[in-house]
């Protein structure tokens, strides 16, 4: 039933893209079984390469072929019209969630290759692992060893799970609809016409995007985790108050955890991790972050975003202070540097191209006092404050444990506040989840 629901959920967006999901599922199901059965190391490698080719090939075709074609065409002497005609061949919709389920199913095959997981013998069960609807379109990217035992046992609905699940869903909707969607128009204004605003407003726009994308993606993750929890399935955490990180390396332990650990386990460690020479370690870090940037989208801005994180990560290791953060002032300094780096890098993530990002950032650092000021309503200020208070007070616990701290009556006051804010103050412009486009 869950499998049917998951396929219906995905197919209701565009039924033809179910075929891609099926190709990934069927190919990895059989390839993983063949890998497990195979005695020859060389054959196993070939099979793994085949899985990588099929999955990354589909991903590349849908996500990067237009980008690559554009880059190649830029070296030709074709007119803009002719280039446009060529690019029409690559103008197709990106299947929603393709980056997520591709990585999830690839992770499974690699786990089987390394003997970390047994190959699944039931294709229906494997299909459910790939397509489990709460996390299909934007994660968390689950590991087979963590998700499958929960999915394949008999799922029993009980009050405790329902209560904990819906609580997360409610809070997820609150931060998506009230925080992210109310910030979105302000951010859109600044990125839409950066030259119009004074520097303080441009800076607010950039910092605002940092909170928008966090609330947007964290909100989605909580909705996914909560929905699964209501069914008795525990998905992995995806965020742990990332903006309180005191270094870039710590930030990546707190931000999009399912992706960063995926790159750690399936790319960084196989490349040698930190048990290599400095030169190779730098190569490994660059590979992880540049590919992570490219994973988000086919645009140089994502690569630059990844490069900024990589360089900061490397700098932290070689900085004279070695970024020890034992003392309070070091912690504060680390927090400020990390927060500003992460948020300035977001400008590249949000911008449509390099020049656009530089326009926005230069506007921030021109220290202009003339220009339009961004209007932040009292209501939005209040909601952001509320969110920040929850972030601060929940920084050392999981958000569902944070809720559990309160007696029932007080918990219901929180629920009432969240519901009231969602019903009455959610953003009104149409902003789909940002990570759906990846």
């Amino acid at each position: 039933m869950l499998l049917g629901a998951s396929y219906f959920f995905y197919g209701s967006w565009k039924v033809e893209f179910l075929l891609l999901l099926l190709i990934s599922t069927v190919s990895d199901f059989f390839i993983a079984r063949s890998i497990e059965r195979s005695q020859e190391r060389k054959r196993k490698k070939w099979l793994l390469a085949m899985s990588l080719f099929i999955n990354l090939g589909i991903l590349f075709f849908f996500k990067y072929s237009s980008f690559l074609a554009t880059e190649i065409l830029s070296f030709t002497s074709l007119t803009d019209y002719q280039k446009g005609e060529v690019l029409k061949f690559f103008a197709f919709d990106l299947p929603v969630g393709i980056s997520f389920y591709t990585f999830q199913t690839l992770g499974y095959t690699i786990d089987v290759y390394y003997g970390r997981s047994r190959a699944q013998q039931n294709i229906g069960k494997f299909a459910l692992y790939v397509s489990y609807f709460p996390q299909l379109v934007a994660g968390p990217i689950e590991r087979y060893g963590h998700l499958s035992p929960q999915l394949f046992k008999r799922i029993s609905i009980n009050y405790e799970n329902l209560s904990k699940g819906f609580r997360l869903v409610l809070y997820g909707f609150f931060i998506k609809m009230v925080i992210a969607d109310n910030l979105a128009p302000l951010v859109d204004q600044v990125f839409g016409n950066p030259g119009e605003f004074d520097s303080a407003s441009a800076g607010l726009g950039v910092l605002g995007f940092g909170w928008q994308i966090y609330a947007d993606f964290y909100g989605y993750s909580l909705i996914a985790i909560g929905t699964a929890k209501a069914m008795g399935v525990n998905l992995m955490d995806n965020f742990k108050t990332p903006y309180f990180a005191k270094s870039i390396s710590e930030f990546w332990q707190r931000w999009h955890i399912s992706l960063s650990t995926w790159f750690r386990d399936y790319l960084y460690i196989p490349l040698g991790g930190n048990r290599v020479s400095s030169g190779f370690w730098i190569r490994n870090i660059l590979a992880v972050f540049l590919l992570s940037g490219l994973w988000h989208g086919a645009n140089w801005t994502f690569v630059i975003w990844g490069a900024i994180h990589a360089l900061m990560y490397i700098a932290e290791k070689y900085f004279p202070l070695k970024w020890k953060r034992d003392k309070l002032h070091q912690k504060i300094l680390g927090f400020i540097i990390t927060y500003l780096t992460v948020n300035l890098a977001w400008a590249f993530f949000r911008a449509s191209n390099f020049d656009h990002a530089m326009d926005v950032l230069s506007q921030v650092f021109l220290f202009r006092t003339d220009g339009t000021s961004l209007e932040i309503t009292n209501q939005l200020f209040l909601f952001l404050s509320l969110f920040l208070v929850i972030e601060i007070t929940s920084r050392k616990v999981r958000i569902d444990d944070w809720f559990n701290r309160f007696p029932t009556a007080l918990r219901w006051v929180w629920y009432a506040v969240f519901m009231f804010c969602i019903w009455g103050f959610a953003g009104t412009t149409n902003h789909p989840f940002i990570y759906f486009q990846f």
């Binding site: 209560s163 219901w412 519901m419 009231f420 019903w423 953003g427 009104t428």
Partner: protein, 333 residues
């Protein structure tokens, strides 16, 4: 478990009722000012005897050249003592007026005046790029608890189409809606393809095409938008309100100059259809036909057919409406 869940559902329902009351009392009006101006105007105009529902034809659209920028509802006051207030916003149409009228209670006002905008039946207006935002604002006007409307607006729970989809839809109408003329004038698309004033780059040719697209259609029972006017009539009747539909002026003079009698014949056929359908004095429902009231010189826009009138034009409309309202009032007495 069932008991626990039941108790929580009751709790949520109670929270909703309290939240709805708080929101309606303290927050909704401010929100309407920004996102639902039509209902905001309506709620603040209930001290008038008549409400005047309109799009941009009601107000001045040329602040630089208009000698007097007073709106039609204000000008009506120069011709009658009957208090009339506007519920008007650019690009709005009967589909948006209808849920607002539904929000009226019996006795709130004596009656309503609703512009029966001929052009609002045309494919380009039906599938205008403004339609998404209009339909979004309409979610606030529906007859439901205000918090539900507000939530539906956030969830974008209304019919939405991209500009490309809308263009495709009105192009289909251009191709498929039959016109009562001999080929090639038997559809909007084929009529536009007839060379009238040179090629497509000729401004006069472009203007003629715009007139065909905006005036060339045949109304019938199932025409889009007809049901909206039907609903307004139904709501008015249920609330015992006088209803005056004003078939507002179109630039017939220029249409005839550009396209000859063919277009006039179609327009007259449609006028008759609308009069027959909505002019029912016994039901306290009237139609004031002002379609050919104004001359070309009274229309502001020169590159597209609109209902943007200069002061003289607005004043003439106001005079006619005022006179008709006096007539309705005297009949009721």
């Amino acid at each position: 478990m069932i008991k626990n869940i039941g108790l929580r559902i009751v709790g949520i329902a109670l929270i909703f009722l309290a939240a709805n009351w708080i929101y309606k009392t303290y927050f909704f009006e401010d929100f309407l000012q920004d996102h639902g101006t039509l209902l905001y105007y309506q709620q603040n105009a209930l001290d008038a005897d008549y409400l005047y529902y309109s799009a941009s034809s009601e107000f001045s659209y040329d602040p630089e050249n208009d000698t007097n920028q007073e709106r039609i509802t204000k000008l009506i006051g120069n011709h009658t003592d009957i208090p009339v207030k506007h519920v008007a916003e650019a690009a709005h149409h009967a589909g948006i007026f209808a849920p607002c009228v539904q929000q009226l209670n019996e006795g709130d006002v004596k009656g309503i005046v609703v512009v029966l905008n001929y052009r609002s039946f045309s494919p380009e207006w039906l599938e205008s790029n403004n339609e998404n935002s209009l339909l979004q604002s309409r979610t606030l006007y529906e007859n439901r608890p205000v918090l539900i409307n507000r939530l539906f607006m956030s969830l974008n729970a209304y019919e939405q189409h991209s500009n490309e989809e809308r263009e495709k839809r009105f192009l289909e109408m251009f191709n498929s809606w039959p016109l009562p003329l001999d080929p090639p004038k038997n559809t909007i698309a084929s009529w536009c393809a007839v060379e009238k004033y040179g090629d497509w780059t000729n401004p006069k040719r472009q203007l003629a095409d715009h007139f065909i697209k905006n005036y060339g259609f045949v109304l019938h029972d199932q025409s889009p938008r007809m049901s909206d006017f039907d609903l307004i009539a139904q709501y008015a009747k249920e609330r015992k309100l006088s209803l005056l539909y004003v078939l507002i002026p179109e630039n017939i003079e220029l249409a005839k100059e550009l396209l000859g009698n063919d277009i006039i014949q179609i327009m007259n056929q449609n006028r008759k259809f609308l009069m027959d359908r909505y002019d029912r004095p016994n039901d306290n429902q009237y139609v004031l036909d002002l379609m050919d009231l104004l001359k070309d010189e009274n229309f502001i826009d020169r590159k597209y057919p609109t209902e943007h009138y200069n002061f003289e034009g607005r004043n003439q409309v106001a005079q006619q409406v005022a006179g008709y309202l006096e007539k309705i009032e005297s009949q009721e007495k």
